[in-house]
């Protein structure tokens, strides 16, 4: 997922220049991360359809989940996974969803979510579960059970975009 739209362009009075308009610049090549030495390229379906993880911080009050999921429903997005819980700050909740879609369609969804007054913060695709699992593998994993997908921003700020495209383990 391009994170370009993870912050509304409005925040900087942003000008977005469509790459196709800019001197036919070569599409940005995906370079492997320097922090984690995986060399596998992103596996992308030809349709461009894949799952995206969105993590939102919203006001913790009755009906907010309804407000958020309402946006998904009326714009025709289907939620694959949903996890809700209190955020690290009192009075706020974190909603983590997994939604299938193309980068473009999810980008439009994010713009609609940004219109919600109860939304404080939205971050995209920060799932680290695959990375965590790989990290633990050398020590031997007995069993993995998963609930709804949970995603948090990791302290190091490493982006794991290249991990996407792997099917979910187990």
């Amino acid at each position: 997922m391009r994170l370009g739209w993870a912050l509304p362009p409005s925040a900087h009075g942003e000008t977005i220049i469509n790459p196709s308009f800019q001197l036919n610049r070569n599409p940005t090549t995906v370079a492997p991360s320097k922090t984690l030495h995986f060399t596998t390229a992103v596996v992308k379906l030809s349709s461009g359809f894949r799952s995206h993880t969105l993590s939102m911080v919203v006001n913790d009050s009755p009906g907010v989940l309804n407000i958020v999921t309402g946006v998904f429903a009326r714009r025709g997005y289907n939620i694959q996974s949903l996890a809700v819980g209190p955020a690290e700050i009192q009075g706020l909740s974190r909603i983590t969803t997994v939604v299938p879609g193309t980068d473009e369609s999810i980008g439009k969804l994010v713009q609609q979510l940004y219109k919600l007054i109860d939304l404080h913060e939205l971050t995209g695709d920060l799932d680290k579960m695959v990375a965590l699992q790989r990290l633990l593998e050398p020590y031997g994993i007995c069993e993995v059970a998963r609930t709804g997908r949970v995603a948090l921003v990791r302290e190091s700020g490493v982006d794991s975009k290249y991990l996407r495209g792997f099917s979910l383990p187990l």
């Binding site: 994170l3 370009g4 993870a6 912050l7 509304p8 362009p9 409005s10 925040a11 900087h12 009075g13 942003e14 000008t15 977005i16 220049i17 469509n18 308009f21 940005t28 090549t29 995906v30 370079a31 492997p32 991360s33 320097k34 922090t35 009906g63 309804n66 407000i67 309402g70 009326r74 690290e88 700050i89 009192q90 009075g91 706020l92 980008g107 439009k108 713009q111 609609q112 940004y114 219109k115 007054i117 109860d118 939304l119 404080h120 913060e121 971050t123 995209g124 948090l152 921003v153 302290e155 700020g157 982006d159 975009k161 290249y162």
Partner: protein
């Protein structure tokens, strides 16, 4: 889309601290650095937190957290000159707090219809010396009137209804205000808190019902929240892309005694941080450069430009770029100007659509590429580079991918571009060949209509009205053929002169909207150009007009049919009439219903005109009669709104000929 129209009593908030920057010791904001992509300014900052890994947060952290959650924004509230009817520490009812909160927002008119759950508010309104209630005869009339008020003045319109059916009657108006970005604050009564969720008498979960048709809504559960909620509602309604906000107030809260705290800060940190910032100069420079490189530029302006009419005129003066307007944008640029191409889109002029089709640069400012404008989206402006400026980030790239886009208030963008253009004297644009080409199209395909004997062509009636009012009247309309003709044939010279339900297309809008306009602008000539179908949908508002003695002129284009649907039946359904005749089938020779009797019932002078030769005199009489007046203009139902690009079509599919007198 539309630009900011702040309530005058609201002091503009200073740039708020972002949500995260308030607790520097607990959260650090770092820009993300990735290996595969150059960091760009619109990269999201990654928020790194340690508060979760800290099992026992230090007291300072906890305090900061509370601070963030409760008071992340600060604003000064009401001007200190406000004189309350109550002494500061005097307990008063929640309804009185609500009404005073409205007063503090500068509200002078509300459109409120009472009921069991809202009568406390009405009681409080009678105690207010500054707020006048205009009593509609239906809640839908009330909210449409509030919309007319907001559209004509640019200030938020306020309507109040009771719980249950009163609240659900607001639904069409809320949806309309959301689609057309009209600032509305709707207040509804609700059953007492203890009865919520019990299917009580006149209970509807209106907050649930209106969730997707309001910009935001509130259910007040604590009387202490009223001052803050009202303040937030007005701020939300009128800032950014304006829209409707609903406040649901349970009856027991209206009755509860409390001492209000007026200087509560608003809690909209997320929203405020996402409001668009002023555009950057180098982005505007880029647009100016694109203009200088173009040969066939065209402006496509919409409802977002209604607050920046002057800047738009100046921009056109400096560049000489022709202007095509959407239905919502009519009046932002004077229709009578030589560079005006008038309306574009499905029923737009041939030359406006020609200009967009042939353009090499489309300057789309304050617009949303609606399907009624674009038709087949792939074919729309297919030869042009597209520059899109809009206040709503979600509109950019929603329907059509722009080449260059700026998320900002168009007013600021224009100011910036104008000063750039004024500074750089060397930039001289010459689009005279392009303007010649368009002038040729204007000559070749002017707006036209045919005349059949003494029958009154509806377009002619509007043309005469335009002449007699010198293009200065405030026009409201219903929805359908008459609406399109009013858009095409009346020459709007200024913004906020044209009040119509654009996005939603709500019939019955014209009459109540005219009420709102007449309240907001008592000195203006207000004319409701209506159709017989639309008029009857809110005909009860004639009573309001009479009682309030509002000088509203109603010019009814009566063709006894649901004209626009008839037109589609003629064109695409072999003229099969499917419940589109609105007269009495057993007495087809008579006009039914007799609209003059509706007027008579409400003591409003009225006349009917059926012959072209008598039309001018009749319209003159309508305009000269003091107070309200209804003129029933009988027009043939065979007329079609032309030009027409069928739904989903492209410019090449434009229809300029024919009517219901021939078969297709």
């Amino acid at each position: 889309m539309a630009s900011t129209a702040l309530n005058p009593s609201f002091s503009k908030p200073s740039p708020f601290p972002s949500f995260n920057s308030l607790k520097p010791h607990c959260r650090i904001t770092l820009p993300v650095l990735t290996n595969y992509r150059k960091p760009t300014p619109h990269r999201p900052p990654l928020h790194i937190t340690n508060s979760l890994s800290d099992p026992k947060p230090k007291p300072a952290t906890a305090a900061a957290a509370t601070k963030t959650a409760t008071a992340s924004t600060t604003t000064t509230t009401t001007p200190e000159t406000f004189l309350s009817r109550f002494t500061p520490d005097e307990p008063r009812k929640g309804a009185d707090i609500l009404v005073e909160a409205l007063e503090r927002e500068g509200v002078t008119n509300v459109f409120a219809y009472p009921g069991g759950a809202s009568m406390e508010i009405h009681q409080a309104l009678t105690r207010s010396s500054t707020i006048r209630n205009v009593l509609p005869r239906h809640e839908q009339g009330g909210i449409f009137a509030a919309e007319g008020y907001a559209r004509a003045s640019g200030l938020p319109g306020v309507c109040i209804a009771t719980s249950g059916p009163g609240a659900t009657n607001l639904v069409s108006g809320l949806a309309d205000a959301l689609l057309d970005s009209v600032p509305i604050v709707a207040i509804t009564g609700q059953v007492p808190r203890r009865m919520i969720g019990t299917d009580a008498f006149q209970e509807t979960p209106i907050v649930e019902v209106t969730r997707s048709i309001t910009k935001h809504n509130y259910l007040v559960l604590d009387v202490e929240d009223i001052p803050r909620v009202v303040r937030e509602a007005f701020f939300l309604a009128s800032s950014g892309r304006p829209g409707p906000v609903l406040i649901d107030v349970p009856k027991d809260i209206q009755q509860q005694l409390a001492v209000p705290i007026w200087n509560q800060p608003i809690r909209l940190s997320g929203y405020v941080s996402r409001l668009p910032k002023p555009p950057l100069e180098n982005h505007l420079e880029q647009i100016v450069r694109l203009i200088s490189e173009s040969k066939k530029p065209v402006l496509y302006v919409g409802g977002g430009c209604l607050n920046s009419s002057e800047e738009l005129r100046r921009f056109v003066e400096l560049t000489g770029i022709p202007v095509a307007s959407t239905l919502m944008g009519l009046g932002a640029f004077p229709s009578s100007d030589e560079l005006s191409l008038q309306m574009l889109g499905m029923h737009g002029t041939v030359y406006a659509n020609y200009a967009v089709d042939k353009a090499d640069l489309l300057l789309a400012f304050g617009v949303r590429f609606d399907d009624r404008v674009t038709g087949k989206i792939e074919a729309f402006a297919s030869r042009a580079k597209i520059v899109h400026i809009d206040i709503d980030a979600a509109e950019i790239g929603k329907n059509k991918q722009p080449h260059v886009s700026v998320c900002a208030d168009v007013k600021d963008a224009w100011k910036g571009m104008n000063s750039l253009l004024e500074k750089e004297g060397k930039l001289k644009f010459d689009f005279s060949d392009w303007r010649e080409e368009l002038k040729e199209q204007k000559m070749k395909y002017p707006l036209s209509f045919k005349t059949f004997g003494e029958a009154i062509p509806p377009q002619y009636a509007i043309q005469v009205l335009d002449e007699l009012t010198n293009g200065s009247a405030v026009i409201s309309t219903g929805v359908g053929q008459h609406q399109m003709w009013a858009a095409q044939w009346y020459k709007y010279n200024g913004p906020r002169q044209w009040l119509t339900s654009g996005g939603l297309g709500a019939m019955g809008f014209g009459l109540p909207a005219a009420i709102g306009a007449a309240v907001a602008r008592p000195d203006a000539i207000v004319v409701d150009i209506d159709g017989d179908g639309s008029f009857i949908m809110n005909v009860q508002e004639l009573a309001t007009i009479r009682v309030e003695n509002l000088p509203i002129k109603i010019m009814l284009l009566n063709n006894q049919h649901l004209g626009m649907v008839v037109q589609w039946e003629d064109r695409f359904y072999k003229a099969n009439r499917a419940h589109t005749y609105l007269g009495n089938p057993s007495k087809e020779s008579e006009i039914f219903p007799d609209m003059l009797k509706f007027a008579e019932a409400c003591d409003i002078p009225a006349a009917r005109v059926t012959k072209r030769g008598e039309l001018r005199k009749a319209i003159k009489k309508m305009l000269e009669t003091p107070g309200p007046y209804l003129l029933d203009v009988i027009v043939p139902h065979q007329e079609h709104v032309l030009p027409m690009i069928p739904s989903g079509g492209a410019f090449k599919d434009v229809i300029t000929e024919g009517d219901g007198r021939s078969m297709y």
